[in-house]
Symmetry: C2
Subunit: 174 residues, 2 copies
């Protein structure tokens, strides 16, 4: 599977995740599923980006500029394309920003949401060893996934077909 | 001046830079102007991004997904919005990638070019204290700006109006 192909799948996956989430709830939930907010993600390694226009039927209210980051724990396996699974402690985060269109260009705006998938093979055994969460506005006090059960329908369902890539979509683009 | 406004200026600036360059030469030059290639830029801090569509009259052959990075030397001044000028050794780099459109989304592709502006107040005194260069395909052996004289017309001319921001366009988006 080429890098380009998997990145394309990645965009579809992100789209589907948000689409599913919108069906669950747009309001922040009082308590999350225990997945920690990815403090310092802006200092992590940028894996790749995609910008989703509002004209995509898959996106709805979660169009945006998506920057996918990985923390130091998962960086080596990402760059080397393995070995998989990713080590416990690996975190992928999607730093979602608004964007505007100026002179035929898509320009980054304010933060819109932050999502993560964090690896803990034992703790999250029922969802491929990954815990999922989304925070509205990138605000650590506003998780959108109320519990692990919702993470299955809102997040893991779309990641399941990616089992061969340890349920991830993102690939390293030098 | 708001961050959003300066970012918009940033996109125009990048566009203009490439537009000017295309008028100079599309072929790599045998020797550059002494500006070093930004080795390791993918590990630097991502400042912001913009994606320029091919339908922009300003872009021409240099449409692409532009990721602006800054090295550690300039990071503090960038985040704090000063004090300016940026310290000597500051480097801003634009990691330009191809992109494709899939399901209404703009998906990152292969590397297309790398540009830098590096601060050395004495060495580059005639261009605001910044040295400029662009490498085709992100290949260190393929600089596109033959000498400092061409850097003025291809690069610095469009940065000159940004004097109040030490000739930079990019701003930090948390």
């Amino acid at each position: 599977m080429s890098h380009k192909f998997t990145v394309v799948l990645g965009s579809a996956g992100v789209l589907a995740l948000f689409s599913a989430l919108s069906a669950v709830s747009l309001a922040a939930v009082a308590t999350g599923d225990g997945v920690p907010f990815p403090n310092g993600l802006r200092d992590w390694f940028l894996v790749n980006s995609l910008t989703a226009g509002a004209d995509s039927a898959l996106f709805g209210h979660v169009s945006g500029m998506h920057h996918i980051y990985v923390n130091a724990t998962g960086l080596q396996a990402l760059k080397a394309d393995g070995p998989l699974p990713f080590p416990d402690g690996t975190v992928f985060a999607d730093d979602v920003h608004e964007f505007s269109v100026k002179d035929g260009s898509y320009v980054e705006g304010a933060k819109k949401a932050v999502t993560v998938m964090v690896k803990d093979a034992k703790k999250y055994a029922t969802t491929g060893g990954w815990g999922f969460q989304v925070w509205a506005g990138g605000d650590p006090s506003k998780p959108l996934v109320p519990d692990a059960a919702h993470a299955i329908t809102a997040c893991f369902a779309c990641h399941t077909p990616q089992k061969a890539q340890d349920y991830t979509f993102s690939t390293y683009i030098p």
